[in-house]
């Protein structure tokens, strides 16, 4: 019992700190890529406390529910947006031993994919219950996007699972070899791009599209509930990056992985998070038709081809 509590506490701590680290990194990385400084004053040293200040600000803001909104649905949607990512973090391993996983389980990969897919229900709830045309438009875009990108996302993950012969996340890392970087490269690219679309990060932020839809399905949200949606986005980055690191980059494998394995997982996760931020700064938003075209005409065929390749190598080798 105590062990379970410690595990859950560990995951909660990760849940509260990793997204903050990614958020702060985003502030600074974006700023430097755009030739400016970013937050500099909060907390004295290079604005390290900016996100904490933001959090305090969100807590103080008034929690507004629009008069025409469907109250219970509107109020519960941010929580439902956040919970799937918290559950997903439970199953992502930091290292080979059982105590480095929130909850060791045999079909971890499958559970994570299933749970992450639930987030779209929260988006639809928020979009519809806001009683706002921008929210509804954003929600419909999000649903169309997530349904489409779920397919290459799952297919790319299935390719690694097939290569490793297991659905267990530690098992996949155990079976991973450095040459998989080449062989599974298409799957990795597809997984990363589809993952970006799953968490609606730029350039796949058509559902939010602040220059045309105000703020998409989050338009009517204020204060803490809005902060929940933002937090969900940053936990989403952590989950997608960690999954990419564990599935495709060999997780805790690296020099000295006997002692420092968990550090390797974290380093790789943050490296992928950096690329997520980098992509946001570099690419303009995809238009809705370009977005669907990329999914159905590029990602799905590539992931299917990768599946065929993986199956062929597995059968012949």
């Amino acid at each position: 019992m105590i062990e379970v509590i410690i595990r859950v506490l560990g995951v909660v701590v990760a849940f509260l700190t990793l997204p903050l680290l990614v958020g702060q990194a985003e502030h600074k990385v974006m700023a430097h890529m755009q030739g400016r400084l970013g937050p500099m004053y909060a907390g004295a040293f290079h604005g390290w406390a900016q996100l904490i200040a933001d959090g305090v600000k969100f807590v103080q803001k008034e929690d507004v529910t629009p008069a025409d909104a469907d109250r219970p649905v509107f109020r519960i949607a941010p929580v439902i947006a956040l919970v799937p990512y918290l559950v997903a973090l439970l199953f992502i391993p930091l290292g080979p031993r059982d105590w480095l996983v929130g909850q060791p389980i045999d079909i971890g990969l499958f559970v994570v994919l299933a749970v992450v897919g639930v987030g779209v229900v929260a988006v639809l709830m928020a979009a519809w219950s806001s009683a706002n045309k921008y929210s509804l438009l954003g929600g419909l875009r999000a649903a169309a996007q997530l349904l489409g990108y779920e397919l290459p996302f799952v297919l790319a993950a299935a390719s690694v699972a097939m290569a490793a012969g297991t659905l267990s996340l530690p098992g996949i890392v155990a079976a991973w070899r450095p040459w998989w970087l080449l062989w599974q490269l298409p799957a990795m690219l597809v997984f990363f791009v589809a993952g970006l679309a799953e968490i609606r990060r730029p350039p796949f932020d058509m559902p939010i599209a602040d220059s045309e839809l105000v703020f998409g399905y989050m338009t009517e949200y204020t204060g803490l509930r809005f902060a929940f949606f933002l937090l969900a986005e940053y936990v989403g980055i952590v989950v997608i990056s960690a999954l990419t690191a564990v599935l495709f980059l060999g997780g805790w494998k690296g020099p000295l992985d006997g002692q420092l394995g968990w550090l390797w997982t974290l380093v790789k996760t943050f490296a992928v998070s950096f690329v997520v931020i980098w992509v946001r700064v570099s690419y303009p938003r995809l238009r809705e038709d370009q977005l669907q075209r990329l999914c159905w005409l590029v990602l799905v065929p590539v992931s299917l081809g990768q599946l065929v390749l993986t199956a062929a190598v597995r059968v012949l080798a």
Partner: protein, 170 residues
């Protein structure tokens, strides 16, 4: 009664209660959301019965995809906030169909199994299920996939404009 029994009963009660709300509520979209609760509770019941893979397949496919498609379609066409007064159907047809189906299925199950005990496999793991599906149940599996393929092709045919017809979306 073991803890698992209590949990199973509770989840069953949630599933039935939420299912009741799906049928009863006059809020169109809320009916879809109650359906999420029902399907989630059924997934929970699978988990209690140690059918891990089936439970998560239920979450991935039904909660993550089917209900989302359903809500998407409803929101694209007509999704008023608040109660819709024109949704009511006479209750007796529903009672007849639903009650009849439940009674029939219940009687069938009771007659089939009586009170005999069936040993369940310890854990419904992916390995076990995959072995079963591809060893003993290959033929139904393949037939089902052909059925799905036919539905897919049908959907494409229906949604494509007829050749020479310029009125279709372009």
């Amino acid at each position: 009664m073991t803890a698992a029994d209590v949990l199973l009963l509770a989840l069953g009660a949630i599933a039935v209660g939420a299912g009741w709300r799906v049928v009863i509520t006059s809020h169109l979209v809320r009916a879809g959301l109650w359906l999420v609760v029902t399907l989630g509770a059924v997934a929970g019941a699978y988990l209690v019965l140690a059918a891990e893979l089936v439970a998560w397949v239920q979450v991935l496919l039904y909660v993550g995809a089917v209900v989302v498609l359903l809500l998407f379609a409803v929101m694209l066409t007509r999704a008023p906030i608040g109660a819709s007064s024109d949704l009511d159907r006479p209750g007796w047809t529903g009672l007849l169909v639903g009650g009849g189906a439940a009674l029939g299925l219940g009687a069938l199950l009771l007659d089939g199994y009586r009170w005999q005990k069936v040993d369940a496999p310890a854990v419904g793991s992916a390995q076990l299920l995959g072995g079963e599906v591809f060893r003993h149940w290959v033929l139904p599996f393949e037939v089902l996939s052909v059925l799905l393929l036919a539905a897919l092709i049908g959907a494409i045919v229906v949604s494509r404009p007829a050749p020479g017809d310029d009125s279709g979306s372009r």
